[in-house]
């Protein structure tokens, strides 16, 4: 098993819930897609090209302020369960973690991590620079990313076109190469059945939504990732401002919806969140999806001040560590544990026992 403890704070600093509005907006991620000038994009690059890209990034990363105290994982060296661990932790994309390691000459795929910042190498694009911050923090996340972009772009020649901007393997990312997304919890809008309207509205203003794990993933536990759809024709600041403005509006709608619920159906809501808490506290078997939905209920209860003594940190931790690869790695150390649901229930009970300061 990889020692993910090597990563400074495990790449999990966003879990602490210290960021702005962290009970509704769990985390903010910004990424930039970049390619090395003169080298074929990853899907058409041969083993030598991929190795060259990795060498270039390696030297540039080590020479940057982000190099010190950082960690590198070579995907070819990792067992499938370890790749999954990185994916569940949102440190590597599904595309990267699915890279076939038996590819002749190696895939050259790697992840570099330094605190909340990192680079994926030989993903769909040669470089995917990213930052992940706690709460609603588009400004700080992008500021950090800009530094990394300047460092690496000063050492590696990036493919850039005077009209089309940064060139990417998929034209949907060309221009700025910027995709900013916030992971947001919207139980109020789901319960008041306003969510469809809000999500439809998003697509009309050039934003898009996805599930917990990005492209193609399902929506579980009322968690949505909202992000910009277009990347070309607007400046980085305009893209971030626009997303920020809409997210603030969605957060305001969510808060309104919660107030409506409290006003019109206080007993139903109180019962709902306490049932979720009770089930997490006492269940002996939990599927991942059920755990997500119950955690959503408890999170709502904490946000409405109905359930005291449970921290946002604890809820975030449960969200990450109840995922299959995390449970296997930390609880049983046997991948493919026969009864992962029972293990999940044991883990949830233990964490709530230790960290929930108040007992029902």
């Amino acid at each position: 098993m990889i020692d993910i403890a090597l990563v400074p704070d495990g790449g999990l600093s966003w879990l602490d819930g210290s960021g702005p509005q962290a009970d509704v907006v769990l985390s903010t991620r910004v990424r930039l897609a970049r390619n090395v000038a003169g080298v074929a994009f990853t899907s058409r690059a041969g083993p030598l090209d991929r190795a060259r890209v990795l060498d270039l990034v390696d030297a540039a990363w080590r020479g940057s302020p982000f190099g010190r105290g950082s960690v590198r994982f070579l995907l070819d060296d990792l067992a499938p369960e370890d790749r999954l661990l990185l994916h569940e932790r949102h440190l590597a994309s599904r595309e990267l973690t699915a890279a076939p390691s038996e590819r002749e000459g190696g895939s050259g795929s790697a992840v570099y991590l330094s605190g909340s910042t990192g680079v994926m190498v030989n993903e769909e694009d040669h470089l995917r620079l990213q930052t992940l911050h706690s709460g609603f923090a588009l400004g700080p996340a992008y500021a950090e990313l800009e530094q990394l972009d300047a460092s690496l772009g000063g050492a590696i020649p990036f493919a850039f076109h005077s009209e089309f901007g940064y060139l990417t393997a998929c034209p949907t990312n060309a221009g700025t190469g910027l995709r900013a997304s916030v992971l947001i919890h919207l139980p109020g809008l789901v319960l008041t059945k306003e969510i469809a309207k809000v999500l439809q509205g998003l697509t009309q203003v050039g934003l898009t939504f996805r599930g917990l794990y990005g492209e193609g993933s399902e929506v579980v536990g009322n968690f949505f990732q909202l992000s910009n759809q277009t990347t070309l024709g607007k400046s980085e600041e305009e893209l971030l401002d626009h997303l920020g403005k809409i997210v603030r509006q969605v957060v305001a709608y969510e808060e309104q919806a919660r107030q409506v619920l409290l006003r019109d159906a206080p007993t139903i809501i109180e019962d709902k969140v306490w049932r979720a808490y009770g089930l997490l506290r006492h269940a002996r078997s939990l599927s991942f999806e059920e755990a997500m939905n119950l955690l959503s209920g408890v999170r709502l209860g904490v946000g409405l001040n109905l359930i005291p003594g449970v921290g946002v940190y604890t809820l975030n931790k449960l969200l990450v560590f109840t995922q299959p690869a995390h449970l296997a790695a930390y609880e049983t150390r046997v991948p493919g544990d026969a009864d992962v649901r029972a293990t999940r229930a044991v883990y949830v009970r233990r964490v709530l026992d230790e960290e929930a300061g108040w007992r029902a």
């Binding site: 899907s43 009209e163 998929c170 492209e215 070309l232």
Partner: protein, 162 residues
């Protein structure tokens, strides 16, 4: 392992979340049942985000129009428009020049715009020797194009470095 809700036999690999009349439902289906129901799987969507557009692009290209681009293969990587249509991915940065006409149209549809308004990138300078070679090349081009104003500027820059 979650079993397919339709056949109950195979592993559910497609998780379809639908919003109908303000209600969110999630269907868990195996690949075969999903295909039978005409569900576009996440993998397909991720792989062919531009599928329909690219398909139509291929047809119109073959029907005439920019026949040159349709038949061309990129001198940088050998990719053709057919490759792009199949994978949804370009082969290299030069593809943007090779298939410029088609891509400008596609970028406009995707982003509503084709002109990059974000940060301008200045590639790292290749050091004095590399820079000199680059300037001389530019000078040659400027003279060839009879752009003497630019040529004079370039000549001064070269003298400065020398």
């Amino acid at each position: 392992m979650t079993l397919c809700e339709s056949c109950g036999e195979r592993e559910a690999v497609v998780h379809l979340t639908q919003i109908v009349d303000n209600t969110i439902t999630t269907l868990h289906l195996c690949e075969r049942c999903a295909a039978e129901k005409g569900v576009e799987t996440g993998a397909q969507v991720a792989k062919f985000p531009l599928g329909d557009f690219l398909a139509s692009l291929g047809k119109s290209a073959l029907a005439g129009g920019a026949a040159g681009e349709a038949a061309a293969s990129c001198p940088g990587c050998g990719a053709t428009l057919a490759d792009f249509r199949q994978t949804g991915r370009l082969g290299c940065a030069r593809c943007y020049d090779t298939f410029e006409g088609h891509l400008r149209d596609l970028l406009r549809r995707l982003h509503g715009n084709t002109q990059h308004e974000g940060e301008r990138y200045g590639a790292p300078s290749a050091g004095p020797v590399g820079r000199l070679a680059e300037l001389r090349e530019q000078l040659g081009r400027a003279v060839g194009a009879e752009n003497f104003e630019l040529a004079a500027e370039l000549r001064d820059a070269i003298r400065g470095i020398e």
